[in-house]
């Protein structure tokens, strides 16, 4: 396998890892605040649809992005109302949100565009185009570094760079700011936050809103950058893989990056069975590669490779005790 093939695989890993990374970070904010969210998938799907639909009608990917974030935020609000205000079951709420998005996107898409639950193909400014970073062209001839810079680092859409910048930003927010301290505290022991005179409800709503924004980015990336338009169920379980990555990363930002890159890499490999066969000398089953993120997560959950302990107050509605 030559350098170029490796770079192509890695490049495709990055593209496929980005929606996972965004959703994973979304889940990180929510779950660190003690709100479990298995509705990442639904929020992503809703955002993917809205972003594509509005990008198509407005002709601007950026307007589409805002709309996608908006759609995701609406579902976040539902989750917030159910699990924070009415102290309902967060898991059940997440399940409901996934179905709501799966159903509504198709129903609305069908009534809006009448193309069997998809949006028309996006063209021109309605899509996020790849950005060529400075000197990418001129450095291309430099051995090793040139192709790496040109193929792998340059040439992605702006959302990819945003996603990667969000990793250090999230780390900084979580561990270096007042907000991060409170966020982590409310996921561990909300009573400590409450008695310190900070509103648990407000803090958790903020976390859920951030989660919504990031899921919106993830969804918009799917339909307006990775692909050119919305298709039915296009999130295809990515929300759950992101959830798996979050457990894999044990709710830490840098590890979320590594985990999603790994899962992105597995997805990239699954798309190129020929390559794997040539390299390894035997056929690797595509379904096995598909299932690998889930199997790895189960192994992690089983505690065979270090125990994944979620935030202690996760999933529990906060009720003041007497």
């Amino acid at each position: 396998m030559d350098l170029l093939t490796i770079l192509q695989i890695l490049d495709s890993s990055v593209r496929l890892a980005v929606p996972l990374l965004l959703a994973c970070l979304a889940g990180l904010y929510s779950e660190r605040a003690g709100i479990f969210d298995i509705g990442l998938e639904g929020k992503m799907l809703a955002a993917a649809f809205m972003a594509a639909a509005i990008a198509y009608t407005s002709g601007s990917a950026w307007v589409g992005l805002l709309a996608g974030i908006g759609a995701s935020l609406v579902l976040s609000a539902v989750h917030g109302v159910a699990s924070i205000t009415f102290r309902g079951n967060q898991l059940i709420s997440g399940v409901a949100i996934n179905f709501l998005a799966a159903g509504l996107t198709v129903v609305i898409a069908q009534s809006w565009f009448a193309q069997g639950g998809r949006t028309p193909t996006l063209q021109g400014d309605a899509r996020f185009e790849p950005i060529t970073l400075p000197f990418a062209e001129s450095l291309q001839s430099v051995p090793v570094i040139g192709p790496i810079y040109y193929e792998l680092i340059s040439g992605h859409s702006v959302l990819v760079y945003i996603a990667f910048l969000l990793v250090p930003l999230t780390w900084w927010v979580l561990y270096r700011t007042r907000f991060g301290l409170r966020l982590r505290a409310v996921g561990e022991n909300p009573a400590s936050v409450d008695t310190a005179g900070i509103s648990v409800v407000q803090l958790r709503y903020i976390a859920v809103i951030i989660c919504g924004v990031l899921c919106g980015l993830a969804g918009a990336y799917l339909s307006t950058a990775l692909q050119a338009g919305f298709t039915k169920d296009m999130s295809a379980g990515r929300g759950f893989i992101a959830l798996a990555a979050l457990i894999f990363a044990k709710w830490r930002p840098w590890h979320a990056l590594y985990a999603t890159l790994l899962f992105g890499f597995l997805q990239a490999l699954a798309l190129r069975p020929d390559l794997l066969e040539n390299t390894l000398g035997f056929k690797v089953n595509g379904q096995l590669l598909d299932a690998l993120p889930y199997i790895l997560t189960v192994v992690i959950l089983a505690g065979f490779v270090g125990k994944a302990i979620p935030p202690r107050a996760g999933g529990e509605p906060y009720v003041k005790e007497r």
């Binding site: 270096r176 310190a196 202690r312």
Partner: protein, 511 residues
């Protein structure tokens, strides 16, 4: 006005939770620079009152005055701003945060963390010197003991410049020595001009530390007196509304054969903490062995092992026969079949299913009994009939088998558990914290039942953190500290002081 304004003045505070009136028209004045005690039984409304003062609940009626200013306290933020700090019975700390992070949480100086932490580190050092409150600022909460954790809570309040400090049952988890240390710190705080409110149900603490004391009963403030002008019997009477028998009437024990023999018992819990260390003792027929100790020194695990839901190594014999400590026969059902009954320490999370009806609870743990089953079906009618009989004999009110356990008062819940366990006619009764959260009338009834069982020649293992209860019920007393039995004493040859030293792990001083 010549006289200084009270640090806190409450006027006519009332608060109801649904049909329950937790606080009725409560008024209280606490002068600055004093320690004021609030004493009352469980459920008397002490905690509710303090929660109102700390902004957790909104009072239905009444006024709060702080240093002569009328104040409203809608939330904890307002309470902190008014200079009130609170140390809750269950600490409000983030376990995997450092001491420093816990102190800073909610009292940060800006959006960035580092400057806040640096400042807190400096101030913590100053506070430590001023009040002798030494704590390692970089230690994780989960790694330090409860005494230290309590100091962190006090430091949290002081860091927020609290002038008024409320402590809710602060000694429940402390050894007598740790408690004495705490009271020295409180003395010190008082000298510096802070006002302290101490909520407790322990008379001794009130007598030893407070300047004035208020007594609460059933949501009402029954009296406020100078501590120097009152006495424990008077306070006890004010607390319960009538004269209290502090001693249980019982005749000398007629001791028979050894029923329970425990040898070199060791328990290591799921987290790998060594909870019970090489414990050996026995209980004979017709006697009550009381196990004294501060909560968390291995007594709970001891009961759990005997009751069949914690694994252990060592040897336990019942009626001379070895029982299984780790294998298939180490479960609760096998224990019950061997004649062991168990009234657990926590009836709400162990002894009862709160959502089950009374009759379902009466079969709980004994649901495999032949008399409760007909083939593969459970004989619900038989269980209900049995429940009615038991409710009558134990005077459970209301005597309705179809009422959910959560609908009964604490005392009546405990009677349901007792009825179930005592009426099995066990050879050995394990009983933990028999009167925790139980009203005084039920306490006497429960104590009588325990003594009556002893007089029938049964062996009884009593675990209680209430020294008074241990002293008045036991025929023999063993003290546990840090998983070990520190020594055995006869109740008529010892006193609270000696037992207290043993509970703190000091054998030499006691010998």
């Amino acid at each position: 006005m010549s006289e200084t304004a009270p640090a806190i003045e409450l006027k006519g505070i009332s608060k109801a939770f649904g049909p329950v009136q937790a606080n009725k028209d409560i008024s209280i004045r606490v002068m600055p620079g004093t320690i004021h005690g609030i004493i009352g039984e469980n459920g008397a409304g002490k905690s509710t009152l303090m929660s109102i003062l700390y902004g957790f609940y909104k009072a239905d009626a009444g006024e709060i005055w702080i240093s002569g200013q009328k104040t409203t306290i809608p939330d904890s933020q307002a309470a902190i701003a008014a200079g009130i700090g609170m140390v809750f019975q269950h600490f409000k700390l983030v376990e995997n945060f450092t001491v420093l992070e816990n102190v800073v949480l909610g009292a940060e100086d800006g959006a960035l963390l580092r400057p806040s932490l640096a400042k807190a580190r400096r101030e913590l050092k100053a506070l430590a010197e001023e009040y002798e409150l030494n704590v390692d600022p970089d230690a994780l909460i989960e790694d330090i003991g409860v005494g230290m954790q309590q100091r962190v809570e006090i430091l949290k309040a002081l860091y927020r410049q609290a002038d008024i400090l409320i402590l809710d049952e602060p000694t429940g988890v402390l050894t007598p020595a740790e408690a004495d240390q705490l009271f020295r710190i409180l003395e010190r705080l008082k000298e510096e001009g802070k006002t302290i409110i101490l909520i407790t149900h322990k008379l001794r603490e009130i007598m030893d530390t407070t300047d004035t004391v208020s007594v609460m009963r059933r949501g009402e403030m029954t009296a406020t007196v100078k501590t120097s002008e009152t006495s424990p019997p008077e306070l006890a009477e004010l607390m319960v509304g009538r004269k209290v028998l502090l001693r249980v009437e019982k005749k000398p024990a007629e001791v028979g054969d050894k029923i329970l023999e425990v040898q070199n018992l060791n328990v290591t819990d799921e987290k790998g903490v060594h909870r019970v260390k090489d414990v050996s003792f026995d209980v004979k027929a017709g006697e009550i062995l009381g196990i004294a100790g501060v909560a968390g020194n291995g007594q709970s695990e001891l009961l759990e092992v005997l009751g069949g839901y914690e694994k252990a190594t060592g040897s336990i014999k019942v009626n001379g026969q070895e029982i299984d400590l780790t294998g298939a026969k180490s479960d609760g059902r096998s224990r019950r079949e061997r004649g062991i009954s168990h009234v657990p320490e926590d009836r709400q999370s162990e002894g009862l299913i709160m959502d089950y009806m009374a009759w379902e609870n009466v079969a709980f743990g004994y649901h495999h009994d032949d008399r409760y089953n007909k083939g593969i079906r459970m004989d619900n009618a038989a269980i209900r009939a049995d429940t009615e009989a038991k409710m009558e004999r134990f005077d459970v009110r209301p005597p309705n088998p179809k009422l959910a356990a959560k609908s009964f008062s604490g005392g009546n819940q405990q009677k349901i558990v007792l009825a179930r366990e005592i009426e099995r006619n066990p050879d050995l009764l394990l009983i933990g914290q028999p009167t925790r959260g139980v009203d005084i009338g039920a306490i006497e009834f429960i104590h009588q039942q325990i003594v009556a069982l002893r007089d029938q020649g049964k062996a009884i293992l009593l675990v209680s953190v209430e020294l008074e209860e241990i002293l008045s019920l036991s025929d023999r007393i063993a003290v546990m500290f840090d998983g070990r039995i520190m020594g055995e004493r006869m109740p008529d040859q010892t006193d609270e002081k000696e037992l207290g030293l043993l509970m703190a792990g000091m054998t030499k001083g006691a010998a």
